[in-house]
Amino acid sequence: MAGIMTKSLAAAGTPARPRAAAGRAAHPIRRLLLWRVPLGVLSVVLVGVLTYLATRVLPGDAASAILGQFATPEALASLREELGLDQPLVPGLLSWFGDFVTGQFGTSLATRGPVTDVVLPRLENSAVLILIVALVSTVIGVVGGVMAANRRDGIFDSSASLVALVASALPEFVVGVFVIFVFSVGFLDWFPAVSIIPPEDRIWDEPIKLVLPALTLVIVTAPYMFRMVRAAMIEALTSDYAEVARLKGASTARLLFRHALPNATAPAVQVLGLNLLYLAGGIVLVETVFQYPGIGLALASAVQTRDVPVLQFIVVLLAIFFVTLNILTDLLVLLSTPRRRAPR
């Protein structure tokens, strides 16, 4: 997608100077917000309703999950009453919705404590992992992409492109298993293979346990950034505009950083957004492999124990994150791509 945008820039022969066109028109931006925000809200509501319905038809509820083999009818009935599971469908949905909007996220059916107590610490752990991975893979991707584009088809470009092509196709749990094998139990004994920490701690108290999960996710996300940046850079470097700059005697460095790199901003921002989106959902498998105390494991455990309030909370949080990030990414892409901001 990014490539196309940069192409249209190149065709127009407009220098990519993000600020140049600022203020010319807020139209597309306003239009974007007008369209996207209501749609986003709709999506989130839809997610909430769907999750609620799905959990209602899910076989077994929190009471039967807790009691397991001991779920005699009497024990079930009394626990259901205690947990407030005897609410009819529609009123249950409405009251959940009302509570959620007013910031009452409810009580976990499994721990009987506030949902936020269960979810927020996990959320922090996952957020740290996601941010570190996003940062590292962006740096690696951008630096690698610029280097590869600079010497196109050189040794670095060919080998890095090949590695990126392979790595971007690998299933993340396969990468995780290989990483454990190499760095933890098979060859080297450098890092812990599991990331379990005491409940009162956060992952940054024991940063060594971040290493392998983060490495796994970087391997999966960096190639995409690399390929995008490389493509955008090559396109910019082969454009007429770059040709002209070269003829005018611009140095390689100037050409790269002054002229080409700004063209890679929009795609990089977009890939960053995509990587963040992927990470928000895709960490589940990696958290499972490493027993990383994050939101993915919390979600999985909530499904298993039929802890509907926790499940709802996490899913809706994820949906809000998805929607916001989508809008934000598009907004940033729009802002860093002058031509498209103009009204047509």
Binding site: R36, T55, L165, A169, F173, L285, D330, R340
Partner: protein, 321 residues
């Protein structure tokens, strides 16, 4: 709200090159494939894919039982009777389980891909051709669906109904349909704006046959690229869901399940994990790279890369509507 530079508008390039009443779609498909096979990248990736396909589909013909007890669990290949790749968590031959464990996954991935590309293409083409209300309804619907964390719903559905194969392919297929819909929508827009399409519409040709005979044939390249990419993603997704416990039921072997259940014996006999993991990796890389080769061979180096990356970027919604 007219033109709308979506990622793969570049594939309009193909449309321009293929004459309106050009060769039948099947020939077009062959031509697109042939072009990909003309490149080194295409040949290598096709070779990899075919190799894994051969193992998956011919493997079950090799005499040997994937469920019989061969040697104590996690015996390495040096133990007598353990076979070339040793034994797994239940003392079964890893070699025979690997040979038998790919077919199921592969069939599911193919079906999921057909569902993803089929439904996605229909939505995309109809939206591009119809315009107006239908277009808005379909594409905004796609936007809304894309904002739902599909993984959660795949999991909920699978927990709800159980690890049924049809549910697995539906979940994997439909979760990818929106991305395909966006890509095909983008590519189809430029085709439906062509004069010949407008012309046949004026002659009163029924919509369905316009779409089938005039629009779709001109989308061969993006469709082929999508097929390759979605196949690659379907394989990764299905293997991941198998890894999480939604694979084929025991005692049937399944590569994704094998990676999980043999992890525990990785130190004693790493082949129980490495063999299925390597095959999954080869397959994913092979199909993905072949899609890449199709795009590059038919759209040119730069546009091909754009198309592949753009397809992967599907979910980001386009802004300026």
């Amino acid at each position: 709200m007219t033109t709308h530079p979506l990622p793969t508008t570049s594939s309009a390039g193909t449309a321009a090159r293929v004459p309106a009443k050009g060769p039948k779609r099947s020939f077009a498909a062959l031509r697109v494939l042939g072009a990909a096979l003309g490149t080194t990248r295409g040949r290598i990736s096709a070779g990899l894919t075919l190799l894994v396909l051969a193992i998956a589909f011919l493997g079950p013909l090799v005499p040997g039982s994937p469920t019989a007890f061969a040697a104590p669990p996690f015996s390495n290949p040096s133990v007598p009777g353990a076979g070339l790749l040793g034994t797994d968590v239940l003392g079964q031959s890893v070699l025979f389980r690997v040979l038998h464990g790919g077919q199921h996954l592969m069939l599911l991935a193919f079906l999921a891909t057909v569902i993803a590309v089929g439904s996605g293409a229909v939505i995309g083409v109809v939206a591009a051709y119809r315009r107006g209300f239908v277009e808005n309804l379909l594409m905004r619907g796609v936007d809304v669906v894309l904002a739902i964390p599909q993984l959660v719903f795949a999991l909920l559905l699978l927990s709800l109904i159980g690890p049924e194969w049809w549910l697995l392919i539906l979940a994997v297929g439909l979760s990818q349909a929106p991305q395909t819909a966006r890509v095909i929508y983008g590519a189809a827009q430029s085709v439906t704006e062509k004069d010949f399409v407008k012309a046949v519409a004026v002659w009163g040709v029924p919509t369905r046959s316009i779409l089938a005979r005039h629009v779709l044939p001109n989308l061969t390249t993006p469709l082929m690229v999508e097929l390759g990419l979605r196949l690659s993603y379907s394989i990764v997704l299905i293997a991941g869901l198998s890894f999480l416990g939604f694979g084929s039921p025991p005692p049937e072997p399944d590569w994704g399940v094998m990676v999980n259940e043999n992890r525990i014996g990785m130190a004693a006999n790493p082949w129980g994990v490495l063999a299925p993991a390597l095959l999954l990796a080869l397959l994913a890389v092979g199909t993905n790279t072949f899609a890449d080769a199709i795009a590059r061979a038919n759209l040119g180096e730069t546009r091909g890369e754009d198309a592949v990356l753009g397809a992967a970027a599907g979910p980001t919604t386009e802004g300026s509507k």
